[in-house]
């Protein structure tokens, strides 16, 4: 932590003779709006933030180091626990990296199952974001409405892979389970339900004048800053950069589907809010198409050697998680365990811009900005 922040400045007004002093405020690690164990040391003058320093690492479990002593299959459950709001994308990025190294062929049906799982998870993740963001802004209701709908997705996952959050669903070369009987129909029903339900979300929140006044023009940054800070996902797209790995570097089978990448230009919380809501719509669009095209039968796991030993060398793959660009770097020495594993976690990278955004803002705005970045602490600290 930067020690400079600890010195606070005091001055006595020559006119009134009143002595004023800056104050250090510890936001977190047990603050209700930091979405986990995230600590933010802010120096405030009244309610105006002069300086903010994020302190991370309270949830650090050393996943990357642990992975060096685990076989590739064993690492998959660990990835569930990084971005626990969207574990399917994490599963996928690891499997994708290993599959790329080994040049494995993934069966068609498994590809579709993976894609459906990932897109459902994206919707679930954005719903969590929507609910918690509104909760941060003081509205309690949206949280429960969002969680009601997310619950439906989790129930679908529970049927698919037997867990609600830590899925451990994907395997190198495919997926663990085929879709159970009637599952595809249930997903179809859910997509139809969600499309019907989304307008009511807008009815409840999007037009609310108080809400709009809370987020308009808050946490603004421009395109150059976004690129300089290596932001990704909605944080980047809100400044007008059209960059979505599903479109620009299609992985899995995303190139078969027709969907838009919503972008905004203002780069403030309002833009990010609308983009995330729009992404739910696009995800539902992808899901609809995928469910139509879903192959009627086939294998769900390809031909995979019993012991997974990627050839010596290194690889880096990246995919679009709900939070941004999640990457996985594997350096292999031809053994069954990685020599080095590294995850590029979008939450962590996106969080780096926070001190810059917070300068000169008030405490209320701080909460809105932090919420709009959409971090998951399991992923920040990894």
């Amino acid at each position: 932590m930067n020690q400079n922040i600890l010195t606070t400045h005091a001055e006595t007004s020559s006119e009134t003779g009143i002595r004023t002093e800056e104050m250090l405020l510890n936001v977190g690690p047990q603050h209700p709006s930091t979405h986990g164990v995230f600590r933010l040391v802010v120096k405030i003058d009244g309610e105006t933030i002069k300086e903010a320093i994020p302190v991370m690492g309270y949830l650090h479990r050393g996943t990357e180091k642990l992975a060096e002593n685990l076989t590739y299959t064993q690492i998959i459950p660990y990835t569930d626990r990084m971005d626990y709001v969207s574990a399917m994308t994490n599963n996928y990025v690891l499997c994708h990296a290993v599959e790329t190294m080994m040049g494995l062929e993934i069966p068609e049906r498994a590809q579709y199952l993976r894609l459906i799982a990932m897109e459902l998870n994206r919707v679930a993740s954005h719903l969590v974001w929507w609910g918690t963001f509104l909760l941060d802004l003081g509205a309690m209701g949206p949280f429960l409405y969002a969680f009601r709908d997310r619950e439906k997705i989790l129930d679908l996952f529970n049927e698919l892979c037997g867990a609600r959050m830590t899925f451990n669903y994907m395997r190198i070369g495919g997926v663990k389970w085929d879709a159970p009987d009637g599952w595809i129909e249930k997903v179809k029903d859910f997509v139809a339900y969600m499309k019907k339900e989304l307008p009511s979300y807008h009815q409840l929140v999007t037009g609310n004048e108080i809400f709009l006044s809370r987020i308009k023009g808050i946490g603004k940054f421009d395109q150059k800053t976004a690129l300089d800070y290596s932001l990704s996902g909605v944080m980047l797209r809100s400044t007008g950069v059209k960059w979505d790995l599903r479109k620009d570097e299609p992985y899995c089978i995303y190139d078969r589907f027709d969907f838009d990448v919503p972008t905004g230009t203002d780069g403030d919380c309002t833009t990010r809010y609308h983009l995330r809501m729009e992404e739910i719509v696009q995800s539902l669009r992808i899901l609809e198409q995928a469910l139509e095209q879903f192959p009627s039968d086939g294998e769900v796991i390809g031909k995979v050697p019993r012991v997974i030993r990627p050839p010596a060398g290194e690889t880096y793959v990246r995919i679009e998680s709900p939070r941004g660009e999640i990457g996985c770097y594997i350096a292999s020495q031809g053994k069954d365990k990685p020599w080095r594993l590294k995850f590029r976690r979008p939450s962590f990278t996106n969080l780096q811009i926070l001190p810059k955004l917070l300068e000169g803002e008030s405490i209320s705005n701080m909460i809105a900005i932090l919420g709009s970045i959409d971090i998951v602490l399991g992923e920040v600290d990894c």
Binding site: L70, T71, T73, Q74, I75, I76, P77, Y78, D80, R81, G141, R148, E151, D155, N158, E159, L160, C161, G162, A163, T166, N168, K176, W177, P180, S200, Q203, L204, V205, T206, G207, N208, E209, I210, F211, L212
Partner: protein, 137 residues
């Protein structure tokens, strides 16, 4: 003001809508067939191949075997089998590798206990945990 009114209208409509609360502790919560709960272990099926202990990502399974009491037969039989549910993450890998389906998942998931010691489940406990056993493993 229109936005506020719309929001108020929405919440008012919800007032009479069907509630989604589960009556969980009063009414058992049914889990889908694939649900990964606490493992069931049947000692008679176990061939002490040690695969489950090796595949476990958190190393929470500990087992020992002993020679088969019948000297005619080869191989070993299981002597002790402990799962430490303090660190077990119910990832399903042990049941996936087990060649004889000696260790399988059940739909039971209630693990809360007052003492950590109670979370060490031994062979007998896991053997008795034989309700709601999962079909496909």
């Amino acid at each position: 003001m229109l936005g506020l009114a719309k929001g108020l209208g929405y919440t008012f409509k919800k007032l009479t809508e069907k509630k989604v609360t589960h009556f969980y502790p009063d009414v058992p919560f049914p889990m889908p067939p694939r649900f990964r709960g606490i493992q069931h272990f049947s000692p008679e099926k176990c061939i002490v191949c040690n695969q489950c202990a090796r595949v476990c990502p958190t190393e929470c399974i500990q087992l020992t075997g002993k020679p088969h009491p019948d000297p005619e037969k080869k191989g070993k039989i299981i002597d002790t089998y402990d799962i430490n549910f303090e660190i077990c993450i119910l990832c399903d890998l042990c049941t996936e590798v087990c060649p004889t389906e000696a260790i399988v998942m059940t739909n039971n998931f209630e693990l809360a206990a007052y003492s950590r010691d109670e979370l060490y489940k031994d062979l007998k406990w896991l053997d008795d945990n034989n309700t709601n056993v999962r079909e496909e493993n």
